[in-house]
């Protein structure tokens, strides 16, 4: 009789569920924990002034003795971006494919973490042993090269994690997704499939990256008399490769512009993921040596990011490139939700400068649509389905697909970050909830901006601030100076001098009354100033600026 394994596998998403970004998931079996991915999220609209968001890893720190390593599926920011911050708190070895690690190493260098971080390149098809786990890297396709799915072997069973993926039968570089291996592992019996939900609402199949290359060829053929400027995602090396291919075919020189793109392209070239024909790439300063119609610029800024190269060109503040009436500008991208207006602004600016802007059908997604998800479910045939990577609506759509393929509803888990899913052949159940959260990074500060600061920023942003200062004599509370009023972000003071003077008088009167009273402690004085000012300003303007009363205690 086969020995029954009594241990249970715990799957704990530390971040990344019901949101885009911040993907990080712990797999725990007895004394072993491995962590899949360690991504950042970009700030939401209400996180004013915040640069980026990283996961709260309290649970990992509390279980530091069990941690075996980070296993990284691919090199996008939402899967690797928090590493430099997290590694400062828990020093763990990293495991990933070559290009992924190359991109991570650029980050580690910037944060002075290269020497202190152990790392190992894993090839597709290869496995690594980490504590009670064995992790196999499986080739997939995505909008960045070298993406992997993971087969996570534990004594409780096999979990397959797709990472971010699509099925591309004709990829630009390297092999198609290793469907046979998915099938083989499926045959062994898979406990759970965790699959990418990003496009789970979209019917059909995502097109091959190669179709974009064909579109590029058409565009190059049709625009032989104009300069071409193509914006795309910095990390999409295959896209860049195809632009270079078309450029070479049509005898154009290629300039790469934008810091993040230059970085990734140089890493990809060094590691052999990009094939550039001799004398094709030129420096931006050499552009003047070629007729415009013999050049193509590949640039960042496809999301309308205000500081990116294309946005600078559109706004006429780029140091080296000026948009000309004959330019053809191509957005090889779709706007990520939330960026639509910014992209549209750049398109308007470019059009107004006379450029011909192409923004439709020059992009394919890197994520699996419904038919691809069905394919993976059907190859892997998991007992449990755990949709990952997406907002709630996407997870739910993925769950719907699983159910339509015959996985019983009670075997499908839409988890929240922090849920502890205990899973075995016999059962699966959320048994606990661990502490998780989002830590805001603002400048050098990690975690020093929280809800109170954000609430204040929101208040300041909407209505500005009025500061009321006064000096009181220590002991007697005699008014020595003030009240003086300073405001910012409220009204343009020169236009509102009368209002401000009236406000001062109203506060002064209230203050005199208050100070004449017997128990005028500072709290009462401040409250009087704040309430009086609030009432007056609301009545007169229907606005509520932040009111800050400041009392100076003067010992004369």
């Amino acid at each position: 009789m086969k020995k029954q394994n009594t241990g249970k596998l715990k799957i704990i998403p530390i971040g990344g569920l019901e949101q885009i970004g911040m993907n990080i998931t712990a797999f725990e079996y007895e004394d072993s924990i491995i962590v899949v991915d360690c991504g950042l999220a970009f700030p939401e609209d209400d996180m004013l002034g915040v640069d980026l968001v990283i996961p709260d890893i309290t649970y990992l720190k509390d279980n530091a003795d069990k941690l075996k390593g980070f296993v990284i599926t691919h090199g996008h920011e939402d899967h690797i971006g928090a590493l430099p911050y997290v590694l400062k708190e828990i020093n763990l070895p990293l495991y990933s494919t070559k290009l992924t690690l190359g991109i991570i190493e650029n980050k580690l260098k910037e944060h002075n973490l290269l020497r202190s971080t152990k790392r190992k390149v894993v090839r597709h098809g290869q496995s690594i042993n980490l504590g009670k786990f064995r992790i196999e890297f499986i080739k997939t396709n995505h909008s960045i090269q070298d993406a992997s799915a993971l087969a996570i072997y534990s004594p409780a069973g096999i979990v397959v994690h797709t990472g971010d993926f699509k099925v591309d039968y004709t990829p630009v570089f390297g092999d198609a997704i290793d469907l046979q291996r998915f099938a083989e592992i499926g045959k062994k019996g898979v406990l759970a499939l965790m699959s990418d939900s990003t496009n789970a609402e979209r019917p059909g199949f995502t097109q091959s990256e190669r179709t974009v290359g064909i579109t590029f060829d058409h565009i190059f053929a049709e625009h032989q008399n104009t300069r071409l400027i193509i914006a795309t995602f910095a990390s999409n090396v295959d896209r860049v490769q195809q632009i270079i291919n078309s450029a070479y075919k049509y005898g154009r020189k290629v300039v790469v512009e934008g810091r993040s793109m230059v970085n990734i392209i140089s890493t990809a070239s060094e590691l052999g993921y990009l094939n550039v024909p001799k004398n094709t790439l030129i420096e931006i300063d050499q552009l003047k040596n070629y007729p415009p119609e013999k050049t193509v610029l590949i640039t960042t800024g496809s999301q309308g990011e205000s500081m990116a190269a294309l946005s600078r060109m559109a706004a006429d503040v780029h140091r080296k490139i000026t948009i000309m009436p004959n330019d053809t500008v191509i957005f090889s991208s779709n706007p990520i939700p939330g960026n639509e207006k910014a992209v549209s602004r750049v398109i308007n600016e470019l059009s107004a400068k006379g450029a011909n802007v192409i923004f439709q059908d020059v992009h394919v997604s890197g994520h699996a649509c419904q038919e691809e998800l069905k394919l993976i479910y059907s190859l892997v045939k998991p007992k449990y389905a755990i949709p990952v990577h997406g907002e709630y609506r996407h997870l739910k759509a993925n769950a719907g697909i699983a159910q339509s393929l015959g996985i019983p509803k009670e075997n499908i888990f839409i988890l929240q970050s922090g849920d502890v899913l205990e899973i075995s052949e016999k059962s699966a159940k959320v048994v606990d909830k661990v502490h998780t959260g989002a830590i805001l990074v603002d400048g050098l500060g990690v975690g020093d901006v929280g809800n109170i600061v954000l609430r204040d920023r929101q208040h300041l942003a909407e209505d500005g601030i009025m500061i009321v200062v006064l000096s009181l004599e220590r002991g007697t509370n005699r008014l020595l100076a003030g009240p003086d009023i300073v405001s910012r972000g409220f009204v343009y003071v020169r236009e509102a001098e009368a209002l401000m003077e009236e406000a001062r008088q109203v506060v002064e009167e209230a203050l005199e009354k208050c100070l004449a009273g017997k128990h005028a402690d500072w709290n009462k004085i401040k409250l009087t100033v704040r309430d009086t000012m609030n009432d007056f300003i609301w009545k007169r303007t229907k606005r509520r600026p932040m009111i800050i009363p400041i009392i100076m205690d003067v010992d004369v």
Copy 2:
């Protein structure tokens, strides 16, 4: 020999070009000016705290003696929303169709302008004479009823202005667009066509509003066991009519929820634009008397507006409606650019509460696509084309359509707000530029928030504020109290006590040095405080909060 008319027509867009919203255009011939529409715009993302934006009408005020009246094409906010503000500055009569005027009158009531404003209902096919102009109202279709195109007859020739329009051969209420009249006027010879560019980038034909009714019927048929909640634009009375029709057919009671929707529906009912079968509409408080599957809610909030009824339901803060796991929620709308994330948030919240959310293919646009624009150009056959209503990219696409139909490039004018286009049979040319602009409305304040205030709000929003106060003895500049530091929106002070104390010390030292010097005037002291603080905070946090030094002058 026919007498040659020597006068020239001037077309002056006061707002609305290269932007969405704030449509207002002056037509001037000798001593007569008529104004077409008077809309507001919604604030851009960088207009922090601003409620709405209205056009600067300096040009109209400067030419008040010529003004004959406002001619309004339809009742959407971007065409009527600025009227209450503008009418307070220039009192002019209003001319529009019945429903349009009914909606305007609701606004005038709120602003106490009903008695002081002359107004006249014009029927489709009817003309009015205003100074040297005759204006004919022509029936069109749009996402609000009673929309009109205008044929503006001047001694210099006829200008046709489409307003916002689509071609709907099978409208829900009233007649299809009066294509015959467009043709007839075209036959007479039209100087210029000003046509709606909103959908000029989209190929094909916009579907009939009636197709949405068919979709509703399918949805009602397929969801007979769940409550239905349908969100759409408040002003789309035809959409509401179709929901009511389906509800009646399937024996459901209808509740209308959301203030703006209740207002417009009651106006439309009173004026006979909505046909509600007896006992179909019920009050929200009566809902409890019916099984959920026998009810349908029509609600505002289809754009994810945080204060709207549907958003409140989704966030579980609606006073009367709680989302139930069996509800079917339908977004009968597309997100307006910029609202995508807000809409997605509401969809996520509804899904997480177990509701089934339908958001695809339950909406048609109210604007003409490329084939409809071609149709209108071909019926009107104008000498000049002036694309209106849209961002630059849309105007340019419309211009491209005009050119593809044989209108010479030099006869197509993409105008900017303020351009004075002088136009006659012989020639057309931008001859002048008049003052225009956007006036920001914030609470009761109209125009008291400008660039400086917005820049300050942006700064405060991103990095917060640090206030440094000190008291100096008058005459001697002896430091009597302070420096004290108060911050908001910068760091959570309890976590950063050490940083704040260090900052205080650094400023104190710099201050002591500065005060010991001979020429320590207040400007120098403030500059010292600001620079010292800026340097210190930047070095330690890589942030730049706004620094406000305040000196109190104390006479002891």
